[in-house]
């Protein structure tokens, strides 16, 4: 028993607290002073020196962080929508209206043991989900969510997108081959055949849009469609939209083309032997794929973040910038919430009579105030900032298409493998070539 431990045993609780907190406070004080004076300026000018690199790093991290909640939201949406379509209620026990269900799915998948079957060759087996997940997530880099808000505005954004999309097939093949199970092998080979044969009509149908817009950068593609809804490429390229939609469902392995995970034929396809977080990666990759494909559909053909009609009232007013009374908004918002909360609480007590106890009335008031203020602030931002509008329009369009994908999953049976292939080569490919030919001639003649 060293001297320290002996004294420590004798000290009372409060003296122990003091013994810990005081040195801690000292260190913090000294550290912050040194940091502000010395370290901060050094990092600032380092950042200012290579701003684009930092921007890229932040974007990648942002996207990686963004995909998990998107996947959760999509899983929850799918559970609820398909259930409601089948006259059932869907998860409603965990969280409000079952909202925490997909979160729980995530934890469950995290806590499960990811078992490796005997005979599977380990490196390929463990890397397969990583390849699939990263390939789908990396494609989010180029998608313009709002006017200023995108990962990286590559001038060959579309080409990058299809390249990354193609990589996820590699993951499926690796999974199929490595899990030493005949069902997975069949699933993997089906995935390869399906996505390869649907990649071509997918890309060809987009070339029409590229011809019209003249650029491959996603941002400028959206700008080319700004103005009212009539300028969207969907109305200029109706056949391309259809081909893209069908090819995109096959790309994301969604019903009616979910041959890779056809649970009634080849158990769970390439993911048969996967369990635990490895299966979680495949599971999330599938839903991120759905999000990407609908985002792309919205961006390329339905004018990403542009509003469907010309905004009548002025926007982009910068009420909220720091110089003006912007800064004052914050205290005003806080005071307003408190005032509104009290008013509502008193009203409820008067109206509700004895049944409402004080705390619950005040709670209700606070809730009402919160919602009210959020609405007001949201509207203000919506009017003030253009990127808030951009996000709103982009998200509504994307989630409309997500709804259609989920809707198709709830209704349609599965197509057979050879019908799938026949449809791609005999119908989609010629149609996309025709569409390409027609667009090209139209552009040449019109430019005359």
């Amino acid at each position: 028993m060293t001297f320290a431990t002996r004294t420590w045993d004798r000290m009372s609780l409060t003296s122990r607290l003091v013994a810990i907190l005081v040195p801690l406070a000292l260190i913090l004080a000294v550290g912050s002073v040194v940091g502000i004076l010395v370290i901060l300026p050094a990092t600032m000018d380092f950042l200012r020196a290579n701003l684009p690199l930092v921007r890229f790093a932040v974007a990648v991290v942002g996207i990686l962080v963004l995909t998990i909640p998107t996947a959760f939201v999509l899983i929850y949406l799918e559970l609820k929508i398909i259930a409601r379509m089948n006259l059932r209620v869907g998860p409603n026990r965990i969280g409000p209206w079952g909202a925490a269900m997909s979160l729980i799915h995530g934890f469950k998948v995290l806590s499960k043991e990811d078992f490796t079957p005997t005979g599977a060759d380990l490196p390929v087996f463990t890397l397969a989900p990583v390849v699939t997940f990263l390939a789908s997530v990396m494609t989010l880099l180029v998608i313009p969510f709002a006017p200023g808000l995108f990962g990286q505005d590559l001038n060959i954004g579309l080409l990058y997108f299809f390249a990354m999309g193609g990589l996820s097939v590699l993951g499926l093949l690796m999974a199929g081959w490595a899990s030493f199970n005949k069902y997975s092998l069949l699933g993997g080979l089906r995935a390869a055949a399906q996505i390869v044969s649907y990649e071509i009509p997918l890309t060809l149908s987009v070339v029409g849009v590229v011809i019209l817009a003249g650029t491959m950068s996603m941002n400028r593609l959206v700008l080319a469609q700004s103005g009212s809804a009539l300028d969207w490429f969907a109305f200029k390229q109706p056949l391309a939209v259809l081909i893209f939609f069908i090819a995109a469902t096959a790309e994301a392995n969604r019903t009616p083309f979910d041959m890779t995970e056809a649970d009634s034929e080849i158990v769970a396809g390439f993911a048969t032997e996967y369990s635990g977080m490895r299966f979680g990666f495949f599971f999330f990759a599938e839903y991120v794929n759905v999000f990407i494909v609908s985002a792309l559909l919205a961006t390329l053909f339905f004018g990403g973040w542009t509003a469907p009609f010309n905004w009548p009232w002025p926007y982009n007013l910068n009420w909220l910038d720091a110089s003006g009374i912007g800064v004052l908004w914050i205290p005003i918002a806080i005071i307003a919430t408190v005032v509104v909360a009290d008013v509502v609480a008193v009203a409820v007590r008067l109206v509700g009579g004895r049944s409402w106890s004080a705390p619950s009335a005040f709670g209700l008031g606070f809730l009402a105030a919160g919602v009210g203020i959020a609405a007001v602030v949201g509207l203000a931002c919506f009017i003030a900032f253009d990127w808030v509008q951009g996000i709103f329009w982009f998200m509504t369009k994307t989630y409309v298409f997500v709804f259609t994908f989920v809707w198709m999953r709830g209704t349609l049976p599965r197509v057979r493998v050879d019908q799938l292939m026949g449809f791609a080569w005999k119908w989609l490919l010629p149609a996309s070539l025709l569409n390409l030919f027609v667009t090209a001639t139209a552009v040449v003649l019109l430019n005359q």
């Binding site: 929508i81 409601r84 379509m85 089948n86 006259l87 059932r88 209620v89 409603n92 809707w407 198709m408 709830g410 209704t411 349609l412």
Partner: protein
């Protein structure tokens, strides 16, 4: 199939969209319970009669008839002598009926076995030998055991079920099914009247003699199936000293013959 290629799919999608908004068919179970029909036979419950006591008297007929041995029941015997339990061991972790356990190959601890006094099983063994350990002839076996022991001791039933492999419920069920088989020893009671006239005629001395013969005292525990009790009142018109056997007055029971007579009685019932 309609001629427009996509029409069928569109109609299907329209149907599911319509059903998206229709009222749902799910019953939120704990909150709203479905109305189960009156005649539903799925309820597992014990029936009570209008006076509130349990209709079941653990006669084991149902456990015996159940093809998959899924009936688990236990309760005190009708005469409240010992605790009988029949049912799958795994669900309760404790072992009741050892022949089922033996079928599963595990050792056979059986607590219910401890409560009653062990008996000499040689007689039972011979009976079973004659009947070729065959559970099909359970009734004759039980009748012969009754003849041998005067009643059906629980140890004998356990042994029969243990050796023939028939389930305990089968043995116990057959025993409770027939009137002439009884679990109670036909205890013979010797009644001695101690009213004044009998005492004068020597019934006190006769009582002590019988007590020594049997090895018990007045109103003590029965030994070898014979109990010595004091008669509450003198039967009208009976000669004193009054000594009754199972209620029937006995004549010429003297002090000397009492000890020999009571000992022979006790031996007879045990043999």
């Amino acid at each position: 199939m309609s001629f427009i290629p996509g029409l069928g799919i569109a109609k299907g999608m329209a149907l599911t969209l319509r059903r998206f908004f229709q009222p749902k068919a799910t019953i939120q179970y704990p909150e709203t319970t479905p109305d189960i029909a009156v005649r539903f036979r799925g309820r597992l419950q014990l029936l009570y009669d209008e006076f509130g006591n349990l209709k079941c008297e653990t006669c084991f007929q149902c456990a015996q008839a159940c093809p998959v041995e899924c009936i688990d029941m236990g309760g005190h015997d009708t005469k409240n002598r010992f605790y009988t339990h029949w049912g799958p061991a795994e669900t309760y972790g404790e072992r009741r009926e050892e022949s089922a356990l033996r079928r599963s190959g595990r050792p056979v601890p059986d607590q219910a076995f401890v409560h009653f006094e062990p008996i000499d099983l040689v007689a039972v063994e011979q009976i079973l030998e004659r009947r070729d350990y065959d559970p099909g002839e359970m009734l004759p076996i039980l009748e012969e055991v009754q003849a041998a022991y005067g009643y059906l001791p629980v140890a004998a039933i356990k042994h029969i079920s243990h050796v023939t492999g028939a389930s305990y419920a089968l043995v116990y069920g057959t025993a409770t099914c027939y009137g002439h088989l009884s679990f109670e020893r036909r205890a013979r009671t010797i009644g001695v009247c101690r009213c004044t006239s009998c005492l004068l005629a020597g019934s006190g001395r006769i009582a002590t003699a019988i007590g020594e013969g049997l090895g018990t005292k007045l109103d003590g525990a029965p030994v070898g199936g014979v109990a010595l009790q004091q008669l509450p009142a003198h039967l009208p018109g009976a000669a004193s000293p009054l000594v009754t056997l199972d209620g029937k007055p006995q004549t010429d029971v003297t002090e000397r013959s009492a000890a020999v007579w009571s000992r022979s009685l006790a031996r007879k019932t045990v043999a």
